[in-house]
């Protein structure tokens, strides 16, 4: 039991961060607007969670201009994908214990 708990990543311990990682796991580059709409969040909330994931080096950021509008896209890093998959495995193990 203790073993499983240590596998749960503290960084992912929030619904928004789980949501961001879920989307980035199955899509390559996703821009800010799409993430905001998929997760139904305000700019500020989303930005703060993205920052936390970036600081953990679980996602990378690409800034570019589309016409004159700045556009920021996000991608999960290899580390991020591995950490998130481990986190999901741990969640699943927890479920099995309950059954």
């Amino acid at each position: 039991m203790k073993d499983i708990i240590t596998k749960l990543q503290k960084v992912f311990d929030h619904r928004v961060r789980l949501g961001i990682m879920s989307i980035l796991l199955v899509n390559d580059w996703v821009d800010f607007k799409t993430l905001r709409e998929m997760l139904e969040l305000t700019d500020g909330r989303l930005a703060s969670h993205l920052k936390a994931l970036e600081e953990a080096k679980f996602i990378t950021i690409k800034k570019q201009f589309i016409g004159r509008k700045p556009n920021t896209s996000y991608q999960a890093t290899a580390d991020g994908k591995k950490a998130f998959n481990d986190h999901l495995d741990a969640l699943e193990e927890l479920l099995k214990l309950r059954e």
């Binding site: 619904r15 789980l18 879920s22 199955v26 821009d31 999901l88």
Partner: protein
Amino acid sequence: MTQHKENPLKTLQEIRQLMERSSRFISLSGLSGVTAGVIALIGASIAHWYIGKVPFQGYDPLTPIRLSSNGIPQIDYLFFFGLASTMLVLAVGAGIFFTTRSAKAKGQKIWDALTQRLLINLCIPLVAGGIFCLAALLHGLIFLIAPSTLLFYGLGLVNASKYTLPDVRYLGLSEIALGLIGLFVPGYGLELWGIGFGLLHIIYGSRMYFRYEYRQ
């Protein structure tokens, strides 16, 4: 906004839902397939009636589609082109109507990066197939056209299916199989279109409708 530290089941369900919603266009309506199929069957019937032939006689009804010696399209060519365009516009229109309705009900966007990716992947084999058929027409290889349209349409569906409901992949594989059979058994162009664009759409469309929409 709640944390699900104590409910990993709910967390996992939400994660699965987000992954699916963000990477697959699940709002594709089965009814658009059924309508497209009915329209195609009506179109095939009109074409058979126009050339005065009964289906499955073994005579290729598409042979009248041929440029005359001075390069001016014959009347049959214009008729078939007009009929096909009308059917296409009606079928695509119905598809957009039912799919928009289903997307609204599911809260999915009809025009975003995902649907664009879906359409681009559908169109790559379709455009290649269109050009191929144009070349076949110019070289007078009329018998290749009907099976090739099914073949390339099927390839387009298989290619696009990773961005939408998994059933689309099987529809695509069926179209490919039908097209390949048609290549070896020429002379049944209109019948092939009736089965491929008509019957298969109705079968897979109603299957999708009852599987994903009817109960919800």
